[in-house]
């Protein structure tokens, strides 16, 4: 009996060692994609099965610095188009694989306890005396921060509110500043405001898209991918109507 069991175990071990599973598709994804991408991956799996997908979320700029040093990712989904383009210029991506998959949208968000009615006031909420801090992502490097600054400037209230601006390093940290109530209002990604974790905690008002330049989100497949077919398939899925519909549901807009 024990001999049989031993043989079985050994056989199982051997077969596991011999048939190496296909390497997973590793995605380096911008933090604002956290919920949307999980849904995309789930639907993609139902249709294509097979390949395992592992997503890592973080700041696009950080991933860029890592990818320049050949971080072992297959697909890069940035919150910006500049980073994948720069990678392409350096010949670090599969030729012609860089693409734009969505546009980010920004909202004014405020917690339930703040007493600021952003839904009625819109951008005027920023000028309220009771709003002492406005959290935005750092315009120096975060695309959502650039959009927030542009929106404030386009309304001509930048000088009036610039001393209220506090800056987060990325859009999720900016959102946390508003969630904690330390900043009465945050200008954050729509995708975060409607994310499952934040629903019911506050109110938001979408900033008209004419008030800021497009927040194009781009991506690319890395040159050193061991799984180019799966990467191409997921890229195609993101660009197809079905993938776009999912992204739209999570607060991104596409063409």
């Amino acid at each position: 009996m024990s001999v049989t069991r031993f043989t079985l175990c050994a056989a199982a071990l051997l077969s596991a060692a011999c048939s190496t599973p296909p390497s997973p598709l590793r995605i380096a994804a911008a933090a604002d994609l956290r919920y949307a991408l999980e849904d995309v991956v789930k639907t993609f799996h139902q249709q294509h099965g097979g390949v395992r997908i592992e997503s890592t979320y973080g700041s696009s700029g950080m991933f860029y610095a890592q990818l320049v040093n050949h971080a072992p990712f297959d697909l890069y989904l940035s919150a910006d188009v500049q980073y994948p383009r720069k990678l392409a210029e350096q010949g670090l991506t599969l030729p012609g694989s860089d693409f734009t998959y969505a546009d980010g949208r920004i909202v004014l968000w405020t917690g339930n306890g703040s007493g600021v009615d952003v839904e009625r006031l819109g951008m005027d909420a920023l000028s309220l005396a009771s709003v002492r801090h406005i959290a935005i992502a750092n315009p120096a490097h975060a695309p959502y921060g650039r959009a927030a600054e542009a929106a404030i400037r386009s309304l001509g209230i930048y000088d009036a509110v610039k001393d209220k601006l506090v800056m987060g390093e990325n859009i999720s940290q900016t959102f946390q500043m508003a969630q904690s109530g330390a900043a009465e209002v945050g200008i954050v990604a729509l995708s975060l405001a409607i994310a499952p974790g934040a629903a019911g905690q506050g109110h938001y008002w979408e900033v008209p898209r004419s008030a800021y330049p497009r927040i194009e989100q781009g991506g690319a497949i890395l040159k050193w991918t061991k799984n180019p077919e799966a990467g191409q398939a997921l890229r195609a899925f993101l660009l197809a109507p079905e993938g776009r519909a999912i992204l739209k549901r999570y607060g991104f807009s596409g063409e």
């Binding site: 700029g61 801090h133 009465e184």
Partner: protein, 224 residues
């Protein structure tokens, strides 16, 4: 080069070290000499900032000193200002964050003082407070200096907590580590490297000077 950020970090580190000296010494004294059985619980609480990820700690500090918290409201009524996104708020956060780096060396220094000397002092009619300043503290100088250096250095390199509580305001909460991170994120690698080198240089000089002053015999070469 971000001289403003560097200067801000140095100011923050100095203030944090001074405050930690003021609250760390009595705290360490209590932890070392208190007969309470439950003091191990307090020791554990003091050491907690070592365990929590700085951004998590920062987020909870932000909640704790924000306008919705009792502490935040008290501060607002007392001063009319708000702690988050201010230098004072950073100071509160830094003191909490560096607490174990001051208290633990202090406490281990106190524990190493010969108990007979302390008791002799008491027997000679010297009060507990005077015994602390005339016997315990002088014999623990190396540990106290170590605690101060560690607090200073830890605050100088602080990143995650400042990121959450500060809000990256130039001259108020943009410390040198934030400014270096900003430069890296904006792909200004050269600027980041210059500021990093300046930070490294200043830190080395400060640390070397403090360790140098701690030597009993000051000499470049061993004299015996």
């Amino acid at each position: 080069m971000e001289w403003q950020a560097l200067w801000l970090s140095l100011r923050l580190s100095c203030w944090t070290t001074l405050i930690l000296l003021a609250i760390g010494l009595p705290a360490a004294h209590w932890l070392t000499f208190s007969p309470r059985r439950w003091k191990f619980l307090v020791e554990a609480v003091v050491a907690l900032p070592l365990v929590l990820p700085p951004t998590v700690l920062g987020f909870y500090i932000l909640l704790a000193i924000g306008p919705h918290s009792p502490a935040g409201r008290l501060y607002a009524t007392l001063t009319g200002g708000m702690l988050p996104f201010s230098f004072q708020g950073l100071l509160v956060a830094s003191v909490l964050y560096s607490l174990p780096f001051a208290v633990q060396p202090f406490a281990s220094g106190f524990a190493a003082v010969d108990g007979r000397l302390i008791e002799a002092s008491w027997c000679l009619g010297v009060s507990r407070t005077a015994t602390f300043f005339r016997v315990i503290a002088p014999l623990s100088i190396p540990s106290i200096v170590t605690g101060m250096i560690l607090s200073f250095a830890h605050t100088l390199g602080e990143f995650g907590v400042v990121l959450m509580v500060g809000g990256n305001l130039a001259g108020i909460t943009r410390t040198v580590s934030i400014s270096i991170f900003d430069d890296v994120q904006s792909l200004n690698y050269a600027a980041a490297m210059h500021t990093s080198l300046a930070l490294l240089g200043i830190s080395f000089v400060v640390l070397a000077a403090t360790y140098g002053l701690r030597r009993r015999v000051w000499a470049a070469w061993p004299m015996n």
